[in-house]
């Protein structure tokens, strides 16, 4: 079965034991995103330290409801962006987006950049699930833009 390729152990681990879950204070930006095709939802907060693109992502907290892919992706995402500058974190987000849009063709994702997120390579072969994997990332981008808007 191809299922193991999609649901890699690292994804199931993050799904069962999500990192950084729960909504926390302080935060400068918050976003609520919904996947209208399946009803999955995420509310996500961003706390930045500093200003502009060089600000450090001090915390990302979230509350989410959805499938294993969307939940695991949110968990992996927080691990990847917390502690980085906004600029670096956005670059990682772009890399993940490119992986999701690869349809499984470019199967050599950069593990140094994406870390646990390389496990989502199997998901990119299933167009219906790509949105699940991107839900938290899109909410994070949105919340960060709001945080930066307030900061400037």
């Amino acid at each position: 079965m191809q299922l193991e390729a999609m649901y890699q152990e690292v994804i199931l681990d993050h799904y069962r034991n999500p990192h950084n879950k729960g909504l926390r204070e302080p935060f400068e930006g918050e976003a609520h995103h919904v996947n209208p095709t399946c009803g999955d939802e995420v509310t996500l907060r961003v706390h930045l330290d500093g200003e502009g693109q060089d600000a450090t992502v001090a915390d990302v907290s979230y509350d989410a409801m959805g499938c294993s892919i969307s939940q695991a992706s949110a968990s992996v995402m927080t691990d990847l962006v917390i502690g980085k500058s906004v600029k670096e974190a956005m670059a990682v987000g772009e890399e993940f987006l490119a992986l999701m849009q690869s349809r499984g063709r470019d199967t050599e994702p950069d593990e140094d950049v994406l870390e646990d997120a390389v496990a989502f390579v199997g998901v990119s072969k299933y167009p219906a699930r790509i949105k699940c994997a991107l839900l938290a990332w899109m909410a994070w981008k949105d919340a960060t833009a709001r945080a930066l808007g307030e900061a400037s």
Binding site: L3, C38, G39, D40, G66, C67, S68, I69
Partner: protein
């Protein structure tokens, strides 16, 4: 088991069902509630029209146009016969959604139409009644009508076992009610509400009744003469017909009094630069060159279903539903969302699997070649009502077999095994 199954040879009429999926697995198609597969008889009817008779109906005096007009109107007659209507009461639309919008917009447009449209006018103080189990297609158009006109939207709730809660019937449907819009069979719960009882109350207070028949007309005998409704909307693609064709049936005197929704060519009588008069129904509601091949395909689908017999179709699905409920409920952790018996219910079986999100259940099933729908099925308020994010839904049709349901039940158990929940 109740109901008699249709012969399995019927499946041979559906070329798509012969294909394989996901690494050569046989296809088990359990998503006919979203859209049905098409028999060769429907595909041939469309092809023959394009190969032999293609022209714009109701235009020009050449032979092909005459043939196209005849084929289009023959299709309308087949569709009318299928639901016990007369052809003049059959408005051909894009789908059920457009049919419902046609009535909602006619009610908006009534505000500036002549006195004949009086009974369609709505405004502040008037009420439109729907139910909590509506597909978005029979909810959002009414929300929007209320927003545009200042009327109030009210709704029937759902009981814990997925039936319509009719306790407040006399309060909900009252002298202020202009229209009651409800499903004839829930696309999520499978519930078939007691239409006659609701229609009797509605008519007693002078309200109109619109039925969303998208999930009923394909699956049970429907006779508009005894239905109790004033309008019935349904889609062709859910009943073995092509996409892009649907039907709005309306009582003749109502269609006569209704202002148009979409305007343009074909629906006019006389056009001046200053003003225009409109054709009588059904042409008044069919602006533009119609979906001719699609209508012919739907006519062929109606003839195909009529040849089987809709009572046999219903009995077949009742048997499948009873078996599906039995196979699914014996799996620990499976919860049926909707009536737990096949009584007053159609073949849409929604369920949740404890600790596995429907999207993940659907993924495992898909890997096994079992195609179901997951999500809120365009009826989000139902999920909220039952406190769940989504469901997995299996829907049946003439070509499904008991073996398909065994594959479904086995797949659910495999999902539990894969995610380690059982």
């Amino acid at each position: 088991m109740t109901g008699t199954l249709l012969p399995e040879e019927l499946k041979k009429d559906f070329p798509l069902l012969r294909r394989t999926v996901r690494g050569g697995r046989p296809l088990v198609y359990l998503d006919s509630g979203a859209t049905s597969q098409k028999p060769v008889q429907v595909l041939d009817a469309e092809r023959e029209f394009y190969e032999r008779h293609n022209a714009a109906p109701h235009r020009g005096a050449h032979l092909l146009s005459e043939e196209a007009t005849e084929a289009y109107e023959d299709a309308r007659a087949s569709i009318a016969r299928f639901i016990g209507a007369v052809p003049g009461e059959i408005v051909l639309t894009k789908n059920a959604t457009e049919g419902i919008n046609l009535v909602a917009y006619a009610m908006s447009n009534a505000a500036t139409a002549g006195p004949e449209a009086e009974r369609f006018r709505v405004g502040p103080g008037d009420e439109i009644v729907v139910t909590e189990m509506e597909h978005h297609a029979n909810l959002v158009p009414w929300q929007e009508l209320c927003r545009r006109t200042g009327a109030t939207l009210r709704w029937f709730g759902i009981t814990d076992d997925g039936r319509l809660d009719l306790d407040g019937l006399d309060d909900l449907v009252n002298e202020r009610t202009k229209l009651v819009a409800l499903t004839h069979q829930s696309n999520v719960l499978g519930t078939v509400p007691p239409v006659q009882r609701i229609a009797d109350r509605a008519h007693a207070v002078g309200a109109l009744v619109l039925l969303d028949g998208a999930q009923s007309v394909p699956h049970q005998p429907v006779d508009v003469a005894s239905l109790g409704a004033d309008f019935l909307a349904f889609s062709g693609h859910k009943m073995l017909g092509p996409t892009g064709i649907g039907v709005l049936w309306g009582r003749r005197e109502l269609l006569e009094a209704m202002p148009p929704f979409i305007t343009g060519g074909s629906m006019i009588e006389v056009v001046h630069m200053e003003n225009t008069t409109f054709m009588p129904p059904p042409q008044r509601f069919e602006a533009g060159v119609p979906m001719t091949a699609q209508a012919i395909g739907l006519g062929a689908a109606c003839d195909y279903l009529a040849a089987i017999g809709m009572d046999r179709v219903q009995a077949h699905e009742e048997a499948l539903t009873a078996y599906a409920l039995e196979r699914l409920t014996e799996i620990p952790g499976v919860r049926i969302i909707g009536p737990g018996t096949s009584e007053a219910r159609g073949g849409a079986v929604s369920f949740t699997v404890e600790d596995i999100h429907p999207h993940d259940v659907g993924q495992v099933l898909d890997e096994l070649g079992v195609e179901v729908r997951v999500g809120h099925h365009c009826a989000w308020p139902i999920c909220r009502r039952f406190g769940i994010p989504a469901t997995t839904r299996a829907t049946f049709y003439v070509y499904n077999t008991l073996a398909d349901l065994d594959a479904l039940a086995d797949g659910v158990r495999q999902a539990q095994k894969f995610f380690g929940t059982a």
